[in-house]
Symmetry: C3
C-alpha cells in the first residue's frame, strides 16, 4: 500500500502544491468542503508549538476528525532516534516503535523536531522526521524539521496570493534579522521556495556568513526557474527592502558556526541593526509592501511594534492561513471530498 | 463587530448574571439545551488547573464544540506580557500575537494567569487577561486572574441557590484560613461579590492585616447594597461562623506584604488556628450550615477531614456547578439556543 | 448505585474477561459496534504514556465519546495520596477530591500510577488507583499500577488468540531481561495471568532473586488451574525459550531490593546476558514462536533489532490490540450496544 508523506513542498510536484493552495483558498471562502470523519491525526512534538498544534487540532475537528498531541520526554516517553542504538541510556522508546504503533492508532502522523545534532552535516539529514516517515505506515506530515517547515510554506504562499493578487515578477524579500539565539533555517528556506514557486523575484538578504544551505539555495533557484522567476542574494537590508512587494523577516544562525553557540553568538552580534522598522517599510513598493513573519516573533528585536501593529503586517493572516492550508493538505491525504 | 468579555461578574449587569444562573440551573436539570457545534474554545493556562480545564473541555464537548488547551512555557512558547517590551530575553512570543492568532482559530479564548508581578499595585491591574481581551477579536473568559475568578463565582452562587433555597438575608461567611503559601485573593473576592448579589448577609472574616483589596471590598458593598444585603468584616473566626448558613473557607496572602514571601510567611504564621473544623461547623445555623471551598483544598490545614467528609460539605457540588455555570456562559457568548 | 472498576483482570470472572476478548475481536474485525456518545473518560497520568493515552483517547472518539487527559504536578495540581495527611507540604489537592470531582465531569476515570513508595510492602497495596476507585462514584480503570496493567493483559491475550489460534497447552514463556533500571512487575504479572487464563503452559523465567510477588504467582497458578493450564518457574533463559510458542520479554526489578536502587542495580548487573536475540528465537517452536513485549522497549538491551524487525515480532499488533481491547472494556462499562 503506497502512502504519501509531506516532508517538503519541493518533494511534491509544483502543480500539486498549487492545487493545494487553490483548495485552501476555496475552503477558507467556504466554497469547498470535505470530511475527515473517523480520521485521527497523531502529532508528536519534540519542540514547542502554538500555531501548529492549535491549527492542526482545529482543522481536524472542523472536518469531523480528531487530533492527538504527544510530547516525548514530557507526558510521553523519551524517544531514541538513532538507528541501531543500544538503548541503555536515557531514552526509553525508539522512534521505530513510536512510528509503527501510532500508525495503528491514527490515519496520519505529524512530527516536529528542531535540529539538535552536534553538526549541520548531521542535522541537515532530518533523520527524525524522515525516520518517522520510513517506519510509519500512514502519511507523515513535517511540522517543522531542521530543513523544512512545509505547512508554513503553504500558508506563506497562500497569503502572498491573497494579498498581492498576481505574484509573477513581484519582489519578495526574505531578510535575515538579528535575534538573541541561533535559529533554524527551515522557515526561511521554505518561505523562499514557496515564493519562488509563485514566479516571484526572490531576494535573499543576510550579512555575509549567514548563507542558507547550498542545496536549499539550489532548490530555490530550480523552483524559481521552473516558475519563470528569479533569485538573487544581497548583503544589505536597505538595498533588499527598497521596492519590495513583500518583506519576510526571519532570523537564523550561521551554519558555518552550527553547534558552537558561543562562537556563533559573537559572530552574530555585530548585526543587531538588521531589524525591520517603519522607516524601512516606507521604502517598499508604494510604501505599502506587506510584512510577513511565521511567528512567534520577538517584538522590537526582529521587527518593531510599529510595523507589527501598522498597516503593513499580514502576520496574523499568515497564521490563519496555516489552518486553511493544512485543511487542504489533510483532505488531500486523508479526506473524502464531494 | 462588538465582542463580549467575561473578566469579572461585576462588569456584567446583575440581571445578566442572575439570568446565567437561571440558565445554568436549567441546563443542569436537563430543562434547557443549546448548540456549540463548530465552536472552539482556546484556553491558555499560565498556571495549573484540574477543574477549570476539565469542566470547560467537557462543557464544550457536551454541546458539540471543542476545546484546545495550551500551556505557555511548556508545550507552547513562553509568552511576553509587557507592552512595548524589547524581547531579547527568555520570552519568545508576545500576548498580542497569541491573542490575535488564537482569535483566528477559536471562537472564544480562556486565560488563566495568577499574580506574578513584584508588587500588588502592578498585579492588581490584571494585565495578562486584560491584554488578551484587548488584543483578541473574540470573547475572552477569565479562568482566574489576580483579581477575579468569575466562573468560580458563578458556580458558588449557583450552589448557594441550590442548597439554601431563598438566599436573601441568609448569613454567608467568607473566612480566611491558614495555608503554607500566600495565595491570591481572586476567589475570596469573587465569592463575596456573588454572595452579595444574592442579597445575603455577607461576613468577611480574617485576622487583622489580611484585608482584601479596598476596591474589591467596595465592589462587594456596592453589589450587596443593590441586592438588599449587607457586608461586615470581623476579625474572629468563631464569631464569624456562629449562626452561618454558609461557611466559605479560603486562604489568601497579606496584600501589605505582597511580593515579600519571607515577611508575609512570618506575618501569617501566628494564625494557624484559623481552620474550619467540626466544632466550628456545629455552631452554624442549626448546626447544619453548608461548607464551601473552591478546591483544590489542603486537607487538615484549611479544613479538617471531618468537615470535608461530613454532612456540611458541598465542595464537590460547587465543582460540578462549574460545569453547568460555564455551559450557560458559553451558550450565552457563542451558542445557538432553541 | 453500584459501579464496576477494572483494577485487575483477576478481580473479574474468567468468563467476563473472555467475553471482553470476544467483543474486542469482533470490534477489530468490524463485526460489532456500540456508542459512547455523550460519555467522557477522564484520565489521570501520574507517569508517562504513549500507547495508553493515545489508544484510550482514540477509542473514546471512535465511538462518539471524548477523553480528557490530566497530569498532576505538571498542567494539573500535585496530588496527595495518603489518607489523613496534614497537607502543609508540596501537594495541593487530595485524591479524594480529584476522584469525587472528576466523577462529576466524566462517566469513567482512568488512573496510571507507578510504584513510588519506599517499600514493596507499601507499594504492593496500590493505594493510588484503589484510592481513586474508593472515592470515585464512576468506574475506575487501572492504566497501570504497581501490581497490574490489566488493559495490557487484555491486549496480550487478544494477541495470543489471534496469532496462535487455539491456545490451550501452548508454551507461553515470560522471560525476564536485563534493563538499566528496576522496572515494576505489573506487566509481567498481568501477562502471565492472562496467558494462564487461556489454558497455556506458562513458563516464568528469571535469574534467582527476581521472583514475582508470591501473591501474584499464586494468582497465576490459580487462574491456570481453573483454565486447565500449568505454571513453572525456570532460572535459565535458554531452557525457557526452547520450544516456546510465545516469548514475552520484560524486565523487572528485584523485589527483595525494592527501594534500594544502588543495591538493586548491583544485584541486577551480572544478568546482562538475559536478552532475547535471533539465536534464541530460532530455538522456539518451529523457529517461529512469536515475540511479545508491552512497549516501550529498549532496543538492543532487552531485545535485539533483529528480533523486533524480524518475522517473530508481534509487538505492534499487541499495541494495536490495546485499542480494541479497551474499546470492548469501555463499551462494557459505559456503552450502549445494539
Amino acid at each position: 500500500m503506497s502512502k504519501r508523506d509531506f516532508i517538503a513542498t519541493d518533494e511534491w510536484h509544483d502543480e500539486e502544491i498549487l492545487a493545494l493552495l487553490d483548495l485552501a483558498g476555496r475552503l477558507k471562502r467556504g466554497e469547498a468542503s470535505g470530511s475527515l470523519a473517523g480520521k485521527v491525526l497523531a502529532m508528536v512534538f519534540f519542540d514547542p508549538s502554538l500555531r501548529t498544534r492549535t491549527s492542526f487540532e482545529v482543522g481536524m475537528v472542523m472536518h469531523g476528525g480528531h487530533a492527538v498531541c504527544l510530547e516525548p520526554g514530557k507526558g510521553s516517553w523519551a524517544i531514541e532516534t538513532r538507528p541501531g542504538a543500544v538503548m541503555d541510556g536515557d531514552t526509553v522508546e525508539h522512534l521505530i516503535e513510536a512510528a509503527r504503533v501510532l500508525s495503528r492508532y491514527g490515519q496520519a502522523l505529524g512530527v516536529r523536531s528542531f535540529p539538535k545534532a552536534a553538526t549541520w552535516a548531521e542535522a541537515r539529514r532530518d533523520e527524525v522526521v524522515r525516520g518517522f516517515a520510513q517506519h510509519a505506515t500512514v502519511p507523515v506530515i513535517n511540522l517543522e524539521s531542521a530543513r523544512r517547515h512545509p505547512c508554513q510554506g503553504l500558508a506563506d504562499a497562500l497569503t502572498l496570493r491573497e494579498k498581492l493578487g498576481p505574484t509573477a515578477g513581484r519582489r519578495f524579500v526574505l531578510t535575515w534579522a538579528w535575534h538573541p539565539k541561533a535559529l533554524p533555517t527551515a522557515v526561511p528556506a521554505s518561505a523562499a521556495i514557496n515564493a519562488a514557486r509563485l514566479g516571484m523575484e526572490v531576494v535573499v538578504a543576510h550579512p555575509p556568513g549567514f548563507e542558507l544551505d547550498p542545496d536549499d539555495m539550489a532548490t530555490i533557484r530550480t523552483v524559481a526557474s521552473r516558475a519563470g522567476g528569479s533569485v538573487q542574494v544581497v548583503y544589505d537590508i536597505d538595498q533588499a527592502i527598497a521596492g519590495a512587494d513583500a518583506v519576510y523577516a526571519k532570523s537564523w544562525g550561521s551554519l558555518a558556526h552550527f553547534g558552537n553557540a558561543t562562537a556563533e553568538s559573537a559572530y552574530r552580534a555585530p548585526h543587531r541593526r538588521w531589524q525591520v522598522d517603519e522607516a524601512r517599510m516606507a521604502t517598499t513598493a508604494g510604501g505599502r509592501g506587506i510584512f510577513m513573519h511565521c511567528l512567534p516573533v520577538r517584538r522590537n528585536v526582529v521587527v518593531t511594534d510599529g510595523v507589527l501593529d501598522g498597516p503593513w503586517s499580514v502576520v496574523v493572516d499568515q497564521a490563519e492561513n496555516r489552518l486553511h492550508a493544512q485543511r487542504a493538505l489533510l483532505l488531500e491525504l486523508l479526506g473524502e471530498r464531494p
